[in-house]
Assembly symmetry: C2
Homo-oligomer: 154 residues x 2
């Protein structure tokens, strides 16, 4: 997998949170996963294709993290993961892939993005069906954690 494909997603995610939620999340060290599973409470998933490769992106939030993001975006407290929250996670996923697509395009890589799906369910686990390495980047905030996973087939 071309590591050049990863940074645009991290950059876009930080940018979206900064712009939309006035939040500076702290990225941890990227980790290459093969067998581990990741778990979150609400996850945006989107597929990507290009002439060269295909891939998938997951952005998965703990309940604490997404409720804090919602509060900062809406200016009022949200009590639980409801339809407003899953809508917003879909929107965040769209904005992150849109931002990353733009950066990648400037580097000469053209990607098509599919439709995001959002999964909600306490502590659900996510696995990507690929023989290629899966890059997981954890993020911490004062209120809760989230992570981004990107996987591209060779």
């Amino acid at each position: 997998m071309n590591v050049e494909f990863i940074n645009p997603f991290l950059e876009a995610l930080l940018n979206v949170l900064r712009t939309m939620a006035a939040m500076d999340a702290q990225p941890g060290s990227p980790e290459i996963k093969k067998t581990n599973i990741s778990s979150g409470d609400v996850t945006g998933l989107i597929g990507m294709t290009s002439d060269l490769t295909k891939g998938t992106l997951a952005i998965s939030f703990t309940e604490a993290a997404i409720l804090e993001i919602m509060q900062r975006m809406l200016g009022e407290a949200v009590e639980r993961i409801d339809e407003t929250v899953t809508d917003m996670v879909g929107e965040i996923t769209n904005m992150v892939t849109g931002g990353a697509k733009k950066i990648l395009s400037e580097k000469g890589y053209h990607f098509d993005m599919a439709i995001p799906s959002v999964v909600a369910g306490k502590g659900h686990v996510i696995r990507h069906k690929s023989k290629s390495p899966i890059i997981n980047v954890p993020f911490t905030t004062e209120k809760g954690d989230f992570f981004i996973e990107v996987c591209f087939d060779d």
Copy 2:
């Protein structure tokens, strides 16, 4: 959304279950969803792109249904949704999109498929972030139910 895009997925899914698990699942009436959410215990999700449209596919199984499918495929009982099961759901998702891609290609529609992701977690809910109708087709078996959801942007 072009309804011609839906049948190939149903046909491919029935064919995969018949071939791999000697199972004849009964499809129910396709339902157009806008706001409802669907819930399953293990779900395969994959994104699709083409020059004309983009889409997403979810195949979501109750625990009872997927454990029966596993038993028929492997010839031995599987007790719970573990890594073997999520692997197989990823594989089924791949086979269904591969089969549908072939049928669609014969009709003159070329789609690229992304990498499948599998989500496991008791009663998780799935929502597709699209303004277009989402087609849900329920399937029943003697042991448990599952459903397929397909959504293509106009």
